[in-house]
């Protein structure tokens, strides 16, 4: 399958990319790893007139401790997140979740920024950043702003990012030794999650349980109020609107969310 023809620019800096975005607006698409964008272009479900290739911008690829947070460049590939010593020590949930994305070839190309900007509710990393209570940093010629992850996802494939903005950084709190777990339920290796549950430090992020990644707030509140893991996990599907498709009915997904939350909380508690 061959995409519709497009023009191609490879700016040598973030500023160059921002200038191109400002000039071309919604006719242009930024391409990072291309592992969500190129497949939809090959299916001709998307046909941008201009591709702005940011895959070689090394200034967007880093993982570093910054105060009480870890800052991750938006262009950092899943394989780097997966193996980062900084993340292993400071935010092991993120490294553990990155390890479950696709397969090694996909992880060698796909980026954390692309995964968040694409905002597929079935993706793993958005729910992990949500469970961590992170922030995304967006830049445009108008300036730089930080958006809490709780306000970033606005719907299926849609976010609070404006068309002239580039996602430049993801910031997550240093959770260090706090218990964490990721339960990703699939039928086959290499599949997307039918449901996924990310737990860290008493917070719970849900994959594929609604239009956006969600926090299991009823579970979190019950835990904070001293409820047992079993009782808190039984509330994990409250307030969710899971999709229904070949992989499972809504009811099946609700059941999975409760069971996987119990497992993840148990693992995170060291059980």
């Amino acid at each position: 399958m061959i995409p519709v023809g497009f023009a191609y620019e490879r700016p040598s800096s973030v500023d160059g990319a921002l200038a191109l975005l400002a000039e071309h607006g919604e006719e242009a698409s930024v391409m990072a790893g291309g592992h969500s964008l190129l497949p939809v272009m090959k299916l001709r479900l998307a046909a941008p007139e201009l591709i702005i290739d940011i895959s070689k911008l090394s200034e967007l690829s880093y993982v570093k401790v910054d105060g009480d947070e870890v800052a991750i460049g938006a262009g950092t590939r899943h394989s780097t997140v997966e193996r980062s010593d900084v993340l292993a020590a400071e935010s092991p949930l993120l490294a553990g979740v990155a390890r479950t994305v696709g397969d090694p070839q996909v992880r060698h190309r796909g980026t954390i920024g692309g995964s968040l900007a694409h905002a597929d509710p079935a993706s793993d990393l958005p729910a992990a950043v949500l469970a961590l209570g992170g922030t995304v940093v967006l830049r445009s010629p108008r300036g730089t702003r930080s958006v809490p992850i709780t306000e970033f996802f606005t719907g299926v494939f849609s976010t609070a990012k404006e068309p002239d903005e580039l996602l430049v950084e993801i910031r997550v709190p240093r959770t260090g030794g706090a218990g964490w777990a990721y339960e990703k339920f699939t039928r086959r290796a290499n599949d997307w999650a039918i449901v996924g549950v990310a737990v860290v430090d008493g917070r719970v992020g849900l994959v594929n349980m609604g239009q956006t990644p969600l926090r299991a707030t009823a579970t979190e509140e019950a835990l904070a109020g001293g409820a047992s893991i079993a009782d808190a996990a039984a509330l994990a599907d409250q307030g969710t609107e899971p999709p229904e498709d070949l992989a499972g009915t809504k009811e099946y997904r609700r059941h999975l969310a409760r069971v996987l939350t119990r497992r993840a909380l148990t693992t995170a508690a060291g059980g």
């Binding site: 399958m1 061959i2 995409p3 519709v4 023809g5 497009f6 023009a7 191609y8 490879r10 391409m31 291309g34 592992h35 190129l38 497949p39 272009m41 090959k42 591709i51 290739d53 895959s55 070689k56 394989s79 092991p92 949930l93 553990g96 979740v97 390890r99 479950t100 696709g102 397969d103 090694p104 070839q105 996909v106 060698h108 190309r109 030794g177 706090a178 218990g179 964490w180 777990a181 990721y182 339960e183 990703k184 339920f185 699939t186 086959r188 290796a189 290499n190 599949d191 497992r263 693992t267 995170a268 060291g270």
Partner: protein
């Protein structure tokens, strides 16, 4: 619109004016005539098109040739000098009968080279997980896994039972604390 690309392929510089939409797989097969790299699913699922980009496995049906500009690509053709001097990975595939029809083989071999680069002594489970992006329509996985273990210098019969130190990512990951 065409864009000039310069890609080092199997150690040799190549260059062409290409349409930005040209896939790396087609650059290798059609522009350079390197037909070891197969296109199977064309949807990033089967891994038949796997090559190394700067030493790391990628699926060349999902990378634009322009994105590989100024980088280096290794295909199966670039591994061995000739059929009497096979690179250790294809040599092990031959010795362990790690192929049947052979369609998935170049992709499997390139994925295995990348896997062993990152993890020179993998357990049997790590080999299976490391190859999860590659499908064998002949379902010859057993001998493929043995071949990769053998290529890593391990005795596949002994490594078979080695203790898995990772839970299958498809189902669960470990925990911290």
């Amino acid at each position: 619109m065409t864009v000039k690309v310069e890609i080092t392929v199997n150690g040799e510089s190549t260059s062409a004016d290409v349409e930005p939409r040209l896939l790396l797989a087609h650059y290798l097969r059609d522009q350079l005539g390197l037909k070891d790299t197969n296109v199977g699913c064309d949807t990033t699922s089967c891994g038949a098109c796997t090559v190394l980009l700067d030493g790391e496995s990628i699926k060349s049906c999902t990378v634009l040739a322009v994105q590989a500009d100024q980088q280096s690509v290794t295909t199966m053709e670039g591994l061995s000098t000739d059929s009497d001097n096979l690179h250790p990975v294809p040599a092990a595939f031959r010795a362990e009968h790690g192929l049947q029809c052979g369609f998935c083989t170049p992709g499997m071999v390139m994925a295995a080279v990348s896997l062993l680069e990152e993890n020179p002594k993998p357990t049997e489970k790590q080999v299976r997980e490391g190859l999860e992006g590659n499908l064998c329509r002949c379902t010859g996985y057993h001998n493929i896994v043995r071949a990769v273990l053998a290529a890593s210098g391990q005795d596949p019969d002994k490594a078979e039972g080695s203790e898995p130190d990772m839970v299958a990512p498809g189902f669960s990951t470990g925990s911290g604390a």
